[in-house]
Symmetry: C2
Subunit: 193 residues, 2 copies
Amino acid sequence: MPVVISSTKKQILNAARNFFRERGYAATSMREIAKEVGVEPASLYSHFKSKEAILQYICFHIADEFFEMQEPILNSVSNPIEKLKRLVTGHINVIIENLEASSVFFNEWCYLKKSELKKFAEMRERYERGFRNVILEGITSGDFRMMDVSFTVRLLFSVMNGIHEWYKISGKVTPDEAGEKMSEFILNGLAIK
Amino acid sequence: MPVVISSTKKQILNAARNFFRERGYAATSMREIAKEVGVEPASLYSHFKSKEAILQYICFHIADEFFEMQEPILNSVSNPIEKLKRLVTGHINVIIENLEASSVFFNEWCYLKKSELKKFAEMRERYERGFRNVILEGITSGDFRMMDVSFTVRLLFSVMNGIHEWYKISGKVTPDEAGEKMSEFILNGLAIK
DNA sequence: CCTACCGATCGGTAGG
DNA sequence: CCTACCGATCGGTAGG
């Protein structure tokens, strides 16, 4: 059942995503967002009850996208290597298709209020567990080296998430090529064996 | 020639580094910094001419540390693999020994004023070039696979820089062990060959 | 969705 | 390094 969302609300979210990414949450004022949308500052409050509520919407909405991508892959039957490749490609595709929201998700989540911060941490833990399990499967199956799984998953997320800072939609590398190259980096590294 | 720096100035920098990392530059007020140091807000301005000047000091000071680490390694005669290992370990050691400053360097540089932003970008470009050249050397020598060097260097920096977000001084992984594990990840990846 | 407005807080300065 | 203070801007509300 699709959630109906007014055109003005969409515009507010769009403006907020851009400003929050560009200048940061704390440095963005409700007045700037209102001006961009073309309404008076007070009018924003008939769509969101606070500035932080806008941030909430952005962060949890993009989180849904990550889970919707992850679940079918985790439940598929492919081997660990194939599974990891698909997760990596899926993850960076979500980022690339939502560059502004992803940047806010990665960099501005800390401005969520306490109760939401807790939900946020639990969600991230659940998502990361999916990746950890695939790596464990791969070690068990003999496809992956023995390694410190927690440490490695953090490296994995660093590589994948970093892409939001430098990927250019207009560049010559398509999202799928980026997934290919990144998977090669993650699976085989730089050195010739 | 060591630059003499007053005890109060040091305290201001320390408080600023902590607050800028914890809440972000924009969300930190001069009043909070002053309170932490134990002086009146107005007194900060006899040490720094503006809030942004504090940010400048933090960003460019830690940048010096990165260059001081990099230069001798680039000029050493070790082979590309050894060189890259030492650069990786050196880079993350600078981060780990300066977690607050590094976080500010990576996340808050965008609040520098325009003229400083330009210097900052040039500096970063020069530093990254050092890494790119080592990878090029490695491809030429046959130690590294053929690859998209620009793309790979971005992945490399993502892996290395990400550590400032999750490394715990109190954890069981020492800085040198972290360098070892990270180099293994970068050079050989997850898969068994 | 607007007008009108609130109290709080901001970075920074004058002058000592 | 302090007292005293500035104009600007902030998130948000009342009431229509």
